[in-house]
């Protein structure tokens, strides 16, 4: 286990050290201490390493992640795992707004609650939230899966494309062009896999599925808001 004191050694040194780790590196286990809410921790990683951040992070932790596992042992600020391509990001606490924004792949697990705009414009990422999510989540979400074990706030899935949304609790309101859809066996199977990946003990049958009504895909004056 390599330990990195962020307060003493600085952000530039941390990220450049982590960027130097290639696929063949033996130094696969990293621990970052004293994060103190710093921004841009462990961004742009591209190696199968595991980074444990011992505390809470600021904006964009694990942004554009590829291959790596980043584990935040605290809460995460805005834009955690934004534009992630692959790998895994786990947040033990809560996540602020824009969690997993525009993510193309990989898995984001939030064990607490996520704030507004969770999964905004997601493009293939899988997001599993143990708690609740805030308003305007999955806005213009294009692809991937968002699983919410708690409740969802206002305007869920507004202007949704092809992303799949699964919510166990209540949905305060659905956004434009987002509707509840039938859960078929393939969805239950997918959901079971996602819940297992996210470490949730919820049952797939407890969830409702939401998706795009596809009425905004081509302009029609009668569907305009």
């Amino acid at each position: 286990m390599q330990q990195f004191d962020l307060e003493a050694q600085g952000l530039r040194a941390l990220n450049s050290t982590l960027h130097e780790q290639a696929g063949s590196s033996n130094q696969t286990q990293w621990e970052v201490v004293n994060p103190r809410g710093s921004h841009a921790i462990a961004v742009g990683l591209d190696a199968p390493i595991e980074v444990n951040v011992k505390g809470s992070t600021g904006y964009y932790c694990a942004g554009m992640n590829q291959q790596a596992t980043v584990h935040v042992h605290g809460s995460a600020g805005p834009g955690v795992a934004e534009n992630m391509m692959s790998g895994t990001v786990i947040v033990e606490g809560d996540a602020s707004q824009y969690a997993g924004a525009t993510g193309h792949g990989g898995t984001l697990v939030i064990k607490g609650n996520a704030s507004s705009r969770c999964g905004i414009s997601m493009k293939g990422i899988d997001i599993i939230v143990h708690g609740n999510i805030g308003h305007m989540s999955a806005f213009m979400a294009q692809s991937g899966n968002l699983v919410v074990c708690g409740d969802a706030g206002d305007a869920l899935g507004d202007s949704l494309y092809e992303a799949r949304l699964f919510v166990r609790g209540s949905v305060k309101s659905l956004g434009a062009d987002c509707i509840e859809k039938e859960i078929r066996p393939e969805h239950l199977e997918l959901l079971a896999e996602l819940l297992e990946r996210g470490g949730c003990d919820a049952k797939p049958e407890e969830f409702k599925r939401y998706g795009s009504a596809r009425k905004l895909y081509n302009f029609n004056i009668d569907n305009a808001y």
Binding site: L11, A40, Y59, Y60, N83, R117, Q142, Y217
Partner: protein, 445 residues
């Protein structure tokens, strides 16, 4: 003529200036369809522009440099503030962001070829970076847009600079649109969207709002790219003083300022014609902001929107820009709106010079299309050569003017080299009305 009015003269029919034929036609079109008019390009209305400025040239108080003989430098370096690897260009004229999707593959290749031959940069657009574009562009600026279509860290690292697009002159405050006709298999895959749908790009970034967030976003991008890449911030011309100041505060290396004549692939006509400032009105406030912050020339200013000639280049630089960027002019250079396609423009209900239905993907010139048959009409090698020639001519023209004003570098052009032909231009450019020492708003008058 038969008099059927008992000798009383008739009133001549008068067309309304307010309800003109084009206006009435648009009312009828709107009534029939229920949808606003969408088109490509920039503002077509007449606005104060560089044509309203003149250079004074040399005289007894200034002496000129010999054309062709004495050196007049054109090089510019962008990104000197923080980036480890600034972009070094042979000429201060860059190619603006235009997406693969909005433009065909051959058109993007032609832009890359022409820009590379001329020693300047080209820019991606909404939709990501294609290998062809990267391959044919020696200096490529990668746009970071609200949609994040195709955005990935591998391409980010391949770029020579990153341009965070906050807005553009044709539609400041608005997102992009690419209608279903142009969403081919490849475009759909690059944007992670179903084929054939109307694609909307968001009007604001999904994971930051405001200058304080932008500062952190820039930090993240710098960390991901090892602080190597120059980071541009592009804004539409709206509040140029404050936008420039805030971009500087957020840590930009370069500010790109796009006036309302700047083009777009597609948006509402009402947006293009009624939102934003003319390019001429943007430059002095932006330069003032840079000067007030003590970073003029340290943070470079790139101006775009209606740049057509070397005279426009020289005038923008005289007002304080470090470089300019061209989009529409580059498209014309490679063949857009060429008279040789007049018959086909007519079939599409348009005419040479007016064709702007770029969103429909039926461009006879093969530039704003994803139809393979149409796209194949454009020879990227020949079109690239035309762009190179055009960039060379613009540069020679700008050098001619600079030498005539006694300058050995385009960057040495200054507002004192200029006068204005109209009160509006004088006020916007803050240069004297021709033959006077006064402009509206000048202190002391």
């Amino acid at each position: 003529m038969k008099d059927d009015n008992h000798g009383i003269p008739r009133t001549v029919p008068i067309q309304s200036a307010t309800f003109s034929n084009p206006i009435n036609a648009e009312i009828r079109r709107a009534a029939a369809t229920g949808i606003y008019d969408i088109r490509g390009g920039g503002a077509k209305r007449r606005v104060p522009h560089f044509d309203d400025l003149l250079f004074l040239g040399a005289s007894i108080s200034r002496y000129p440099l010999e054309g062709y003989r004495e050196k007049c430098e054109t090089k510019v370096t962008l990104g000197t503030r923080f980036a480890k690897k600034p972009i070094e260009l042979e000429i201060p004229i860059t190619i603006a962001g235009m997406s693969f999707g909005a433009l065909s593959g051959p058109a993007k290749e032609a832009l890359g070829r022409g820009a590379s031959m001329a020693g300047t940069s080209t820019t991606t657009g909404d939709g990501g970076m294609t290998p062809e574009e990267r391959g044919h562009s020696t200096q490529l600026v990668y746009q970071y847009l609200p949609s994040r279509y195709g955005m990935n860290p591998n391409d980010l690292r391949k770029a020579d600079a990153i341009e965070i697009v906050v807005g553009q002159g044709a539609k400041p405050g608005g997102g992009g649109m690419l209608l279903g006709q142009k969403i081919s298999d490849r475009v759909a895959e690059m944007r992670t969207l179903p084929k054939g749908i109307d694609q909307r790009s968001a009007c604001r970034h999904p994971d930051w709002t405001g200058p304080d967030d932008l500062e952190i976003k820039i930090l993240e991008l710098r960390e991901i790219t090892n602080w190597e890449k120059p980071i541009y911030v592009k804004v539409g011309g709206t509040r140029p003083y404050y936008d420039t100041a805030l971009a500087v505060k957020a840590g930009a290396d370069v500010v790109v300022l796009d006036g309302m004549q700047g083009g777009t692939a597609a948006t509402q006509d009402v947006f293009i014609e009624h939102v934003g400032l003319p390019t001429l009105a943007c430059i002095r406030p932006a330069v003032q902001a840079l000067q007030d912050l003590g970073v003029h020339r340290e943070v470079q200013l790139v101006v775009s929107g209606g740049i057509r000639t070397g005279a426009d280049v020289a005038k923008a630089m005289a007002l304080g820009a470090d470089a300019v960027s061209i989009g529409t002019a580059a498209m014309v250079a490679i063949g857009d709106n060429d008279p040789k396609w007049e018959e086909e423009y007519q079939k599409l209900g348009s005419t040479t010079g007016a064709y702007d239905d770029w969103h429909e993907g039926q461009d006879p010139a093969g530039i704003t299309t994803q139809e393979a048959k149409l796209a194949s009409r454009l020879d990227p090698v020949e079109a690239g050569r035309r762009l190179r020639n055009y960039l060379s001519v613009m540069t020679l023209e700008a050098q001619t003017i600079a030498r005539a004003c006694g300058h050995n570098h385009l960057h040495n052009l200054e507002p004192e080299d200029l006068c204005a032909l109209t009160m509006e231009a004088a006020a916007m450019a803050k240069v004297p009305l021709a033959g006077t020492d006064w402009y509206p708003g000048k202190p002391g008058f």
